[in-house]
Amino acid sequence: MSEHIVSSYDEQLDLINSTLIKMGGLVETQLHNSLVALGDKDTAFAEEILRDDNKIDALEKEIDALTYKVIAMRQPLANDLRTVLSALSIANDLERMGDHATNIAKRVANVKINMPDTPVSEIVNMGENVQRMIKNVLDAFVQKSDTLAINAWDLDGDIDELYLSIYRDLLKTMAEDPDTITGCSHLLSIAKNIERIGDYVQNIAEDIHFITTGQALERKSEKRIKWEKV
């Protein structure tokens, strides 16, 4: 992309971009840390993680302010307009992802009691897959690559399958040992949090597609979950 004649315009757009990337990095770390705390059942670390959510929220506000300023000052058009509008939407999605990641950490203490290890490690595995999706979609954003964005989008099908399988396993565990019901209920919520993060990655991939092509992404997941069989 060639540069604007007014270089301060480029600086403003670059700042929006770099702030988004920074925010994405924090979200990725937030999920990673939550998964570590969950896997290790480390409540002290989980407490620490909760405090980091503020940093993500602060960056969202920063991006909001930057985009309003660019719109008011520059009246962006075409690809610039799409970039600025999508920045608002991506920042909003990243903030939600941060909340979901933080929710995982919140539940670590509840999972610590009386819980078999197997379902926990399955969930951590699913979370690591979603973490890779975040990394991929951020790479797509940095490179403004439609192909990478669509690749990231497609990965969500696997996440939904993993979610379904974990859901079934947790139901089975609860049925076999009612003492695990409390812990498993929290794990169900955690799995749901992770699954939602995958959905937000898809949203971001759709925004990248819109920025690069100007079109809405018309795509259907090949793998559709069949909940009626659960």
Binding site: H4, I5, R74, Q75, R82
Partner: protein, 253 residues
């Protein structure tokens, strides 16, 4: 789709040796506003001046190709230029009222074209034209004052009243707001919205926002070529040509 009022076909224009327009083909819809944008010297003013044969007065200017208005080639030998200009009015960048009274500025056209039968006819035309140009209320008590004594925005609306007084089908506007403040600009833009119910309007503008606000279709000219013409919304949100995108986003020009 609206019916087509003006159609340019492979238009080539030369000023002496220098070619100013290259194979420009586009249509303009009836009772719609079409905006022409592009950097200075891109040919958009040359193009608009071909639509009422204003270029005829430049000796070295040579026009090839065809422009049809309502299906008739305006460069055909049988075309009478005075009649053409009666149908195609023009408003310029700088308001240029005649050094005459407000009344006479508007009455001039109908008088020389013999449109008014008598004095009361003429008065009616002047009043109606001033009303259509949204100027009447501001000047009704001083119609005999000099037109040049009005503010810039009022002068430009007087020029619009003068253009519509001969009952044209088409109004060409060559950067009509570039000498006006934002309020006067807003008044002209509002007026364009009203005028397009009766007239086909072609506007050359350097303001992207203005083109986006007032027009339904926009053409982008660059180096004498029509790079792209499309729905205004498409041009400003997702143009197909990289040069259009670079221009409207402020990357060259």
């Amino acid at each position: 789709m609206k019916s087509i009022k003006i159609k340019a076909d492979n238009l080539n224009v030369y000023y002496g040796e220098k070619q100013a327009l290259f194979d420009v083909s586009m249509y303009m819809e009836e009772k719609q506003v079409t905006a022409l944008i592009g950097p200075s010297g891109c040919g958009k003013s040359t193009f608009i001046r071909c639509l009422n044969r204003m270029n005829d007065v430049i000796d070295i200017c040579k026009v090839q190709g065809k422009i049809e208005i309502d299906g008739n080639n305006i460069y055909a030998p049988s075309m009478q230029v005075e009649q053409l200009r009666e149908r195609v009015g023009m408003v310029f960048q700088k308001p240029n009222p005649f050094p005459k009274s407000i009344f006479e500025n508007v009455a001039y056209g109908p008088r020389i074209h013999g449109i008014a039968e008598n004095k009361s006819d003429l008065e009616e035309i002047v009043v109606n034209s001033l009303k259509k140009a949204a100027l009447f209320d501001e000047v009704k008590d001083r119609l005999n004052d000099a037109g040049t004594g009005l503010s810039g925005g009022q002068q430009q609306r007087l020029c619009i009243a003068r253009a519509i007084s001969v009952n044209p089908d088409i109004i060409l506007m060559d950067e009509p707001c570039s000498a006006l403040d934002p309020i006067a600009t807003a008044r002209i833009e509002e007026l364009m919205g009203e005028l397009k119910t009766e007239y086909t309007i072609i506007i050359v503008t350097h303001s992207m926002q203005q083109a986006a606000r007032v027009s339904s279709r926009t053409g982008f000219f660059h180096l004498g070529k029509l790079v792209e013409v499309d729905k205004t919304e498409t041009i400003f949100s997702n143009p197909s040509d990289q040069r259009t995108q670079d221009y409207i986003t402020g990357r060259f020009g």
